[in-house]
Amino acid sequence: MAHVELTVNGRAHRLACEDRTLLVTLLRDALGLTGTHIGCDTSQCGACVVHVDGRAVKSCTMLAAQASGSAVTTIEGLADGERLHPLQAAFREHHGLQCGYCTPGMIMSGVDIIRRHEGVLDEHIVREELEGNICRCTGYYNIVKAILAAAEDYPESAAPLKAEPARV
């Protein structure tokens, strides 16, 4: 059994899980944070993207034990209460989602893209950067639009609205 201590969306957790437990499984099953989705079993689709210590990670490629000591942000931790994160708002404004299944991963990746490029993006960069996120509904057109629009709100759009908590 692995003992995992981590903060998720600002709350500290101490958990025991099987060694082989993936971070995505821990988030979904142990913590009930079902906004992080699983869309494939080969780490291609990006539906499970979360932030670990401020960087986008496919939570299906990481063991829960590897996240021990880290601060994790999931889609549920991006807004500040009822105040939406600028990228969340942009996805709604630009119709960047249809079925909504890839959306949490898209948004978490999008925030990371904005952060890494310091808000300086163009369509080509966004399309290339989204290589690791698959959407089947939208053809990506409006997802790209939403990310470009939210990049205008840099730096607010480059991180969760609530500051990352200190490491445990």
């Binding site: 080969t42 996805f91 079925c99 909504g100 299944y101 509904c137």
Partner: protein, 775 residues
């Protein structure tokens, strides 16, 4: 009107999805739930000689192991196809019944052989891997030509030759005569590649059984929960449908593949009864690629005869369509539509069309976005370009000479479709202008200067939107707000928004207060779900008729309250006005009055609600034009979409933002089919080669390029709200547009033909072969 029809109203359903609060089946956890894992067949065709489950049954956490023998012992039924041609006066086909666990012979890789139920998902998977199945491998056939070859292994012993049925349209003798007198004929052998929906949410099922009152509840990844309920209750479990409730909560895309139930949907219910615990199964992507219904997989020999000016005299086609190991879901529908829409938007007086339904040792054919229309339009649009090439005229001119003109509407095709409206040439001209068709030469020179080949195309699609009747209900509550109860099912299409726009405008009630319920067989009386671009037509029209009934009853209530005769009441923009007086009541006030605890005349009945049904018997015909320019790197074979323009006629638009999104999504799937996607089975072993997203190439953001969109909307005349469907159009128009553009770029090198998907390796190989031939 801010929230009225035609406005790009932002979706009311979005908030939960962008904040991670969507509730998909896999997100549901019920107390005491156990977890299921499936053992799948690794063989395309094999006899099960024995099955040793002892190690699995003894493994940690295992509650039960269920096999095909248990299914038989418990007297469960199999899953029949949704319909066969013989159910609609068609030819008699070889009907199959698919067991929910296979007891004897597996007929495809991925067939379900056993199910393990355990305390955790990991324990169930571990134990499943301990089950030893003794298989005797048998000869398998996975490709169409092999399946109909002399001496091919039979998928079903009493269906030798593997052909379940043939469908035909047209007049063979007249077609022969037309070909005999034609100035020019062209012929193509076209493969329409096997692909798969791959909704981002893998299928999942959660089954509950209440032993006290012997009732079942299923949470299903379903486009059509009432359809699941009917089939599982009647055909599999053999219980009164009153004992089964099916809930399709948030569903992460469907595209046809979730239209009908699968073995797992019934298995979790049966397992829940057997183990006395709720049972949850969440499929993996690999299981989906193996075991979900597939789409397309058609091989066509198509010929076209024309006069010297390029006017089409006749079309002949002989097709094979792979239905997989079973007739399943609505898998017959693609065959039907793949013939019916071959004439497309052209006035073609003579056809001779045939398709054969062919069993193969593969996952079954289902309906996938477009279901047969993409196959049909691919045939005619490839033929039109072939004809233009043969005659040395432009693809624009050859189409212009053959369009059905507006003056001939309503136009009945030789295959029995009746187009009510369509301004094909006007829309075509708009698309050519949008794409700057005439400026192509400069762009080609620019591409060539960079060592790239550039090609272009123009393709025109038409499709059949809407099928089956459906029922919609509007129900007010005592506070005066209204809820829509939908028989259709939105799984990304934004119905909660679009339907509320319709009701808000018709009844003049606040958009924000309209409630929306769908996807629960205990809440919605009957429904047929969403597929076949049916919901705007049938759901929207039924809502309009329900709204008419609400207004009619509201008029009587207002008359009662205002003390006048009902025929003195007029209704406009939410207000009931007594003409002879200056008194009026708002719809909301009328609704509240209808719920008064005292004094409501008995003949009104308590409350204000209405349900209405709209028949889907008359479909509508969305149509449009795709203009595509590709740039090809001759050294690598990579194809880039350099420019793309789409003009659609989708009739009256309820929400342009949602319509545009639907076109985007269809387009991406059509682009995927043309350039990237292919379900491949190894022809020798029958193994699935494309079993993960590593091997099955889904379109990524960087596979799509610039897009210009416009509309040329002609309201539909055959439904009360003038709508035409929009969900499938992109997937129909894109494949021929892209393939024709690629061929336009490559013909100067001597490449005459390519099949989908036009992957870099295929394009490179075609260029290399042409160069060798020219050398």
């Amino acid at each position: 009107m801010k929230f009225g029809v035609g406005q790009p109203v932002r979706r009311v359903e979005d908030k939960r999805f962008i904040t991670g609060r969507g509730r998909y089946v896999a997100d549901h956890a019920v107390p005491g739930q156990a977890h299921a894992a499936i053992v799948s067949s690794p063989h395309a065709h094999a006899r099960i000689l024995g099955l040793d489950v002892s190690a699995a049954a003894a493994a940690p956490g295992v509650l039960a192991v269920l096999t095909g023998a248990d299914v038989l012992a418990d007297g469960l039924g199999g899953i029949p196809p949704l319909f066969m041609p013989q159910n609609a006066q068609g030819p008699f086909g070889y009907r199959t019944l698919r067991p929910i666990l296979i007891p004897d012979i597996v007929r495809a890789v991925g067939e379900r052989v056993a199910m393990v139920i355990a305390e955790t998902p990991a324990q169930a998977r571990d134990a499943a891997d301990l089950i030893e199945v003794d298989y005797e491998p048998l000869d398998a056939v996975v490709t169409l030509e092999a399946a109909v070859a002399e001496g091919a292994p039979a998928v079903w012993p009493d269906c030798p030759g593997n052909v379940s049925f043939s469908l035909t349209h047209g007049d063979p003798a007249a077609t022969d005569a037309a070909f005999a007198k034609a100035a020019v004929t062209v012929a193509l052998r076209l493969e329409n590649n096997r692909i798969i929906a791959n909704a981002m949410e893998p299928r999942a099922a959660l089954g509950l059984y209440d032993a006290a009152d012997e009732t079942y509840t299923l949470y299903a990844t379903s486009q059509n929960p009432h359809g699941f309920k009917e089939m599982i209750a009647r055909d599999v479990l053999g219980i009164p449908a009153t004992r089964l409730r099916v809930i399709a909560p948030d569903v992460g895309g469907g595209f046809g593949a979730k239209a009908d139930c699968y073995p797992e949907d019934a298995l979790v219910l049966w397992a829940a009864r057997r183990v006395g615990r709720p049972v949850k199964w969440v499929g993996t992507r690999s299981e989906g690629l193996m075991g979900d219904n597939h789409g397309r997989d058609q091989l066509v020999h198509a010929e076209l005869a024309a006069d010297a000016e390029g006017r089409v005299l006749a079309v002949r086609a002989r097709a094979l369509h792979a239905i997989g190991a079973y007739h399943f879901s609505a898998g017959v529908a693609p065959l039907l539509y793949s013939l019916r829409y071959i004439p497309g938007v052209y006035a073609i007086d003579t056809v001779d069309l045939e398709t054969r339904a062919v069993f193969t040792h593969t996952s079954p054919l289902g309906v996938y976005r477009g279901a047969g229309r993409p196959e049909a339009i691919y045939v005619i649009e490839r033929l039109m370009d072939e004809l233009a090439t043969r005659l040395g005229i432009s693809p624009v001119d050859v189409r212009r000479r053959n369009f059905v003109p507006p003056a001939r509407m309503p136009y009945k095709t030789q295959t029995g479709a009746v187009y009510d409206t369509g301004e094909f040439e006007a829309l075509f001209d708009k698309a050519l202008a949008l794409a700057d068709w005439d400026g192509f030469d400069a762009r080609r020179s620019e591409s060539e200067a960079r060592g790239r080949l550039r090609g272009r195309s123009v393709a025109y699609y038409i499709e059949h939107a809407g099928i089956y009747n459906d029922r919609m209900e509007i129900r007010f509550d005592p506070t005066g707000s209204a809820t829509i109860l939908a028989g259709t099912h939105s799984h990304g299409q934004g119905h909660a928004t679009a339907f509320a726009q319709l009701v808000s405008e018709q009844l003049g009630i606040p958009f924000e207060a309209i409630g929306y319920i769908q996807g629960d067989t205990d809440k919605v009386m009957i429904g047929r779900g969403t597929y076949a671009a049916r919901s705007s037509l049938i759901g929207g029209s039924a809502l309009k008729l329900a709204g008419d009934k609400i207004i009619e009853k509201g008029r009587r209530i207002a008359a009662w309250k205002l003390g006048v005769e009902p025929d003195e009441i007029t209704f406009d923009a939410g207000m009931f006005v007594a003409r002879s007086t200056n008194r009026s009541m708002h719809m909301t006030e009328v609704a509240i009055a209808s719920f008064q605890a005292r004094g409501v005349p008995e003949e009104f009945a308590l409350g204000l609600s209405a349900a209405a049904t709209y028949s889907g018997d008359v479909p509508n015909y969305p149509n449009g034009c795709h203009v595509c320019e590709v740039e090809i790197d001759p050294e690598t074979g990579a194809v880039e979409l350099a420019a793309y323009a789409v003009v659609d006629d989708v009739g009256v638009v309820i929400n342009p933002m949602i319509v545009e999104g639907q076109v985007h999504g269809g387009l991406a799937q059509g682009i995927g089919q043309a350039l990237l996607e292919h379900i491949v089975y190894d022809p020798d072993s029958g193994q699935l080669v494309t079993g993960t997203f590593n091997d099955y190439c889904m379109p990524r953001a960087d596979n799509l390029g610039p897009l210009a969109m416009a509309h040329h909307n002609v309201p539909c005349l055959t439904n009360p709200i003038g709508v035409k469907g929009c969900g499938e159009s992109g997937a129909i128009g894109a494949p021929p547009a892209i393939m024709n553009a690629i061929l336009d770029a490559l013909r100067p090198l001597g490449v005459a033909h390519l099949d989908m998907p036009a992957t870099p390796s295929r394009v490179w190989a075609a260029i290399a072969a042409a160069r060798r031939a020219a050398a």
